[in-house]
């Protein structure tokens, strides 16, 4: 397989499609630490944009992914959550839900990274519920935009990770 996932493009809404180089970014993960996408070259990255911290249900998307982390780790994949919430808000949310992966603050300029991925809802001022799998070479191999009210689960992510070439 030469091209990662080229035969299996899932593209809905306006999110950046498979086959595109993933726009690089540096965002705050905590008030005093930043994360840069290109630091993860060499292993797959799951980029999960979501509308807001503190959604009120047990079906919360980030809490679900927290439980699925061991499955993601089987693929050596790094999970990054992204919303427009600030780093302090993320910290409180991650502590409350015992999250074991970074939540990045696309806070200033607001939604700038989400816009680059076609995953910003300007009318609402929040990120879409959009998923991207970035392969070890920094290319998007799969993307999916879920209806904002629907938690997309993790099945699509796991299938996309399976489809990555060795």
């Amino acid at each position: 397989m030469a091209q990662s996932g080229a035969s299996n493009i899932t593209h809905s809404g306006g999110v950046v499609p498979a086959g595109t180089v993933a726009p690089n970014f540096t965002l705050h993960a905590t008030p005093d630490q930043t994360v840069t996408l290109s630091d993860f070259l060499g292993r797959p990255v799951i980029l999960a944009f979501y509308p807001a911290d503190w959604s009120p249900v047990c079906g919360d998307q980030m809490a679900l992914y927290n439980e699925v982390l061991p499955e993601f780790q089987k693929f050596g994949a790094e999970l990054l959550g992204v919303s427009v919430d600030g780093a302090w808000c993320h910290r409180a949310f991650a502590e409350a839900r015992h999250l074991h992966f970074p939540l990045l603050a696309d806070f200033e300029p607001k939604g700038a990274v989400a816009r680059q991925y076609g995953a910003y809802r300007a009318a609402d001022g929040v990120c879409e519920r959009a998923l991207f799998i970035i392969d070890k070479n920094g290319s998007i191999s799969w993307s999916y935009c879920s209806p904002i009210a629907v938690n997309p689960g993790a099945d699509g992510i796991l299938e996309a990770l399976e489809d990555l070439p060795e």
């Binding site: 249900v57 047990c58 079906g59 919360d60 998307q61 809490a63 679900l64 927290n66 439980e67 699925v68 499955e71 839900r97 015992h98 999250l99 074991h100 629907v150 938690n151 997309p152 689960g153 993790a154 099945d155 699509g156 796991l158």
Partner: protein
């Protein structure tokens, strides 16, 4: 997406005839308050459809969020291995606000099972693999929180109110007849 990829087998905990018109599968967590609310509703739905419905429960413990969920699932499986799954399942949900070791022991005694054997099973994680298999099958099927229901293999995206569940099951019965 959102098709039950782990088919219902004889290994599953089920109530109702195996050849019932509709099989309702729930992925649930004994510590999840929404599952606690769904528990009596599922009972009502089962009563409503009688022998036309088969109900299957699978474990989906959100253990990072709910500290007793994994152990509770293993306790239910422990009882299940001795033919008392549904008794334990009911005891756990009916006493959800007291979920924890004291309740596990109390229910085990009530069901005349050995508390020593329970301790061993929890310590040696005898049922961990089974619970994890339920969980990963659920993830692969698009379970996105608890409770998640599948009706004849299709994820039910609506609410789990009695009326909505009944309507969705009725629809599945009609779809089945016209297929």
């Amino acid at each position: 997406m959102a098709i039950l990829k782990a088919p219902v087998t004889v290994e599953d905990h089920g109530q109702g005839p195996e050849d019932a018109e509709v099989t309702l599968v729930e992925y649930g967590d004994y510590e999840c308050p929404h599952c606690g609310r769904a528990y009596p509703i599922v009972h009502q739905v089962q009563k409503h459809f009688g022998e036309r419905l088969r109900f299957v429960f699978r474990n989906f413990p959100l253990s990072q969020m709910h500290p007793h969920a994994e152990a509770a699932a293993e306790v239910a499986e422990f009882a299940g291995a001795q033919g008392k799954f549904w008794e334990m399942h009911g005891g756990l949900f009916e006493n959800q606000e007291r979920l924890g070791e004291a309740l596990f022991l109390e229910l085990t005694k009530e069901l005349k099972l050995s508390t020593t054997a329970l301790h061993e099973a929890l310590e040696q994680k005898t049922f961990e693999a089974r619970v994890r298999a339920d969980f990963t099958g659920g993830i692969r099927s698009g379970v996105n929180g608890t409770p998640t229901f599948f009706i004849n293999g299709h994820r039910h995206n609506g609410s789990f109110d009695f009326d909505e569940l009944v309507a969705a099951i009725r629809e599945a019965m009609i779809t089945r007849k016209s297929a």
